[in-house]
C-alpha cells in the first residue's frame, strides 16, 4: 500500500523531539493543508498526553511499540488477555482513527507510527539496551541490531499471524517494518535474516 506523507510534512515526520514537532506542526499547518491536519494534531495529542498526569510529556507511541515487542512471551498459549492488550495498544497508536485504508487518515496514522518507531529505534542503540546476563553485560552494536530486528519481526509478522490479526495490524506492521528496513542497509539485511530464519517459528 502506498502511504502518502503529504506535501511538505517530511520534516515533521523525521523529527523525533516532541517539542520540536509541536513547533513544526504550527509552522507547517499554516502553509500546507491536505485535509489531515486536524487528525495529525489529534494523533500528536493522543500520543503525548497522559490523562492521569496532565502537563507531563509522555510518548505512548514508543511505549506501545516497546510493549508490543515483548508481547510474545509464552505466545504459544494464545492468551486472550494478550490479544486484548494488543487491540488496546492499536487503539492507543491511533489505528481507530483510520476511516478508509486508502484515504489520508491511514497515511497520517502510518506516518505517526513510523515516527514513534523511529524514536524507539534511536533508543535501541544506547548502552542500556539488550544487556545480557541479568543486565551485567552490554551487547555489541551488532547484537543490538539483531535484537531489534528480532523484535521488529515479532511485532510485524509473528504476533499478527499467530493471533490472526494481520489485517487489523497491517498499518502498524507496515509502519514499523518500513521504518526499520529503511534505517540502514545493515538493518534491512538483519531483518531479512530474521525472516529467513523464522520459517517454522510461527
Amino acid at each position: 500500500m502506498n502511504y502518502q506523507c503529504g506535501d511538505g510534512w517530511t520534516e515533521y515526520y523525521r523529527e523525533t523531539d516532541p517539542e520540536k514537532r509541536k513547533l513544526l506542526f504550527k509552522q507547517m499547518s499554516d502553509v500546507y493543508d491536505d485535509g489531515a491536519n486536524e487528525l495529525r494534531h489529534r494523533l500528536y495529542e493522543k500520543r503525548h498526553t497522559d490523562s492521569a498526569h496532565p502537563g507531563k510529556m509522555v510518548d505512548k507511541g514508543v511505549l506501545e511499540i516497546m510493549l508490543m515487542s515483548v508481547n510474545d512471551s509464552l505466545i504459544y498459549r494464545l492468551s486472550p488477555f494478550t490479544a486484548r492488550s494488543i487491540r488496546r495498544s492499536m487503539t492507543d497508536l491511533g489505528i481507530d482513527e483510520v476511516c478508509d485504508d486508502n484515504d489520508m487518515s491511514a497515511s497520517a496514522v502510518y506516518w505517526e507510527i513510523r515516527n514513534a518507531a523511529r524514536r524507539y529505534f534511536e533508543n535501541c542503540k544506547g548502552p542500556q539496551y539488550a544487556r545480557k546476563w541479568f543486565g551485567m553485560v552490554a551487547s555489541s552494536d551488532d547484537e543490538k541490531l539483531e535484537k531489534t530486528a528480532y523484535d521488529v519481526w515479532t511485532m510485524t509478522v509473528r504476533i499478527p499471524e499467530i493471533y490472526g490479526m494481520t489485517e487489523e495490524m497491517r498499518i502498524f506492521s507496515d509502519a514499523v517494518r518500513d521504518e526499520f528496513t529503511e534505517m540502514s542497509e545493515e538493518a534491512r539485511a538483519s531483518y531479512m535474516r530474521q525472516v529467513r530464519q523464522a520459517k517454522g517459528k510461527l
Partner: protein, 328 residues
C-alpha cells in the same frame, strides 16, 4: 489461527519444559505408583507454595533484566521475625518472655513491611546510584544476614503457637492454607503484571530502560517498587516456611534465590529482560519441585540431585538465550 509446518526444534524450545514435566511424571509414576498419591501431591503443593511466592517476587526483578540475590537471606529474616512474634507464651526459650503472641495478619504485615524496606533500599541503589542489581542485591544479602545474626544471636527460633503451624497442617477445601496463600499471591501478582500501570512500566523497563525513560515511565520509582515488592514476598515466604517447618534460623531459605531464578528461567522469564509471565513462574516452580520429588522417588542419591538441578539450570538458560538470539 494460521496452520504452519511443524518444526521440531522450535517445538522443543517452546514446549520443552512442559514435555520434561510430563515425561518425569509418567516415568516416576510407572516406577513408583506412590508418586501420584494424594499425600505426595499435597506435599508437592506445600513445597511449591513458599517457593512460588519467592519466584513471583524474583520474576519482577528478572523481567527488568535484573536479579535478586538477597532473597534467601530476606526469607531467613522474615522467618525469624515471624517466629519470634508467634512463640507460645509459655515456651521456655521465648525470645521476648513478656510479649504475648501476636495476631497472624499483624505478623504478616510487620514481616512484609520490614523486608520491603530493605528491598526499597536495594532498589534505591539500583535506580539512583546505578549499582548493578547483581552487586546491589549481593550487598543487601550480606547486610540482612549480618543484621539477622545480631538480632537473633544466631539462636534457632521455635515453640510456635498452634495457629501458626496449623497453616501448614490444616486445610480449607482439601488444600492447606499455605497453598491458598500462594494462590492469592499469584492472583495479586497476575493483576499487578497485567492490569496495572506499574506492570506495564515493568515490562517497558525490561524491554529498553532508556526508551522507557523517554516515554515518561518513572523508571527509578518503578525499580524501587519492584525490589520492595519482591522483598515483601520474600518476607512472606519466610513466614510460610516457618509455619511449615515449625522453626526458623538465620539459615532459613539459604540458596532459595538461585532455585527461584532458575525456576523463573525454566518457566520462560527471560534473563535478557522484558519477557515473562506469572504462569512462567508457576510452571518453573512446578517443574523444579516435580524434578526434585521424582529424583527422590527414583532413588537417586540425594547429593547427586544437586548435579541434576545444576544441569537443568544450564539447559534452561541456554534455551532461553537461544530463543532470542539469532545466528548471522
Amino acid at each position: 489461527m494460521n496452520k504452519k509446518a511443524f518444526n521440531l526444534k522450535e517445538f522443543l524450545i517452546n514446549y520443552g519444559v512442559i514435555l520434561v514435566m510430563i515425561i518425569l511424571v509418567v516415568i516416576t509414576s510407572i516406577k513408583s505408583p506412590n508418586f501420584l498419591s494424594s499425600n505426595n501431591l499435597m506435599n508437592l503443593l506445600l513445597n511449591m507454595s513458599a517457593r512460588l511466592v519467592i519466584a513471583l517476587g524474583i520474576a519482577g526483578c528478572v523481567i527488568t533484566a535484573g536479579c535478586d540475590l538477597s532473597a534467601g537471606r530476606m526469607i531467613g529474616l522474615g522467618g525469624c521475625i515471624a517466629g519470634i512474634l508467634l512463640q507460645k507464651a509459655d515456651y521456655s526459650g521465648k525470645f521476648y518472655p513478656d510479649m504475648p503472641p501476636m495476631n497472624l495478619f499483624l505478623v504478616i504485615a510487620i514481616v512484609m513491611l520490614i523486608t520491603a524496606c530493605f528491598g526499597a533500599i536495594t532498589g534505591f541503589f539500583i535506580a539512583f546510584l546505578n549499582v548493578p542489581p547483581f552487586i546491589s542485591t549481593l550487598a543487601m544479602m550480606e547486610i540482612v544476614y549480618g543484621l539477622n545474626l545480631i538480632y537473633t544471636n544466631a539462636t534457632p527460633i521455635g515453640g510456635y503457637v498452634d495457629y501458626y503451624t496449623a497453616l501448614a497442617t490444616e486445610r480449607f477445601l482439601f488444600i492447606p492454607w499455605l497453598v491458598w496463600i500462594a494462590i492469592v499471591i499469584a492472583v495479586i501478582t497476575w493483576f499487578i503484571f497485567n492490569m496495572t500501570r506499574h506492570g506495564k512500566y515493568m515490562y517497558a523497563i525490561g524491554a529498553n530502560p532508556q526508551a522507557a525513560e523517554v516515554t515518561g515511565v518513572p523508571v527509578r520509582l518503578t525499580m524501587i517498587l519492584i525490589y520492595a515488592k519482591a522483598a515483601a514476598f520474600y518476607g512472606l515466604a519466610g513466614f510460610m516456611l516457618g509455619a511449615k517447618s515449625g522453626g526458623a534460623s538465620v539459615n532459613l531459605g539459604l540458596g532459595y534465590e538461585m532455585e527461584a531464578i532458575a525456576a523463573c528461567t525454566i518457566g520462560g522469564v527471560s534473563v535478557t529482560g522484558g519477557r515473562g509471565k506469572v504462569s512462567s513462574a508457576v510452571l518453573g516452580v512446578a517443574v523444579f519441585e516435580l524434578l526434585k520429588a521424582a529424583l527422590q522417588f527414583l532413588g537417586v542419591n540425594a547429593n547427586a540431585q544437586w548435579i541434576a538441578l545444576g544441569v537443568i539450570i544450564y539447559i534452561a538458560i541456554s534455551l532461553d538465550i537461544r530463543k532470542y538470539v539469532t545466528k548471522k
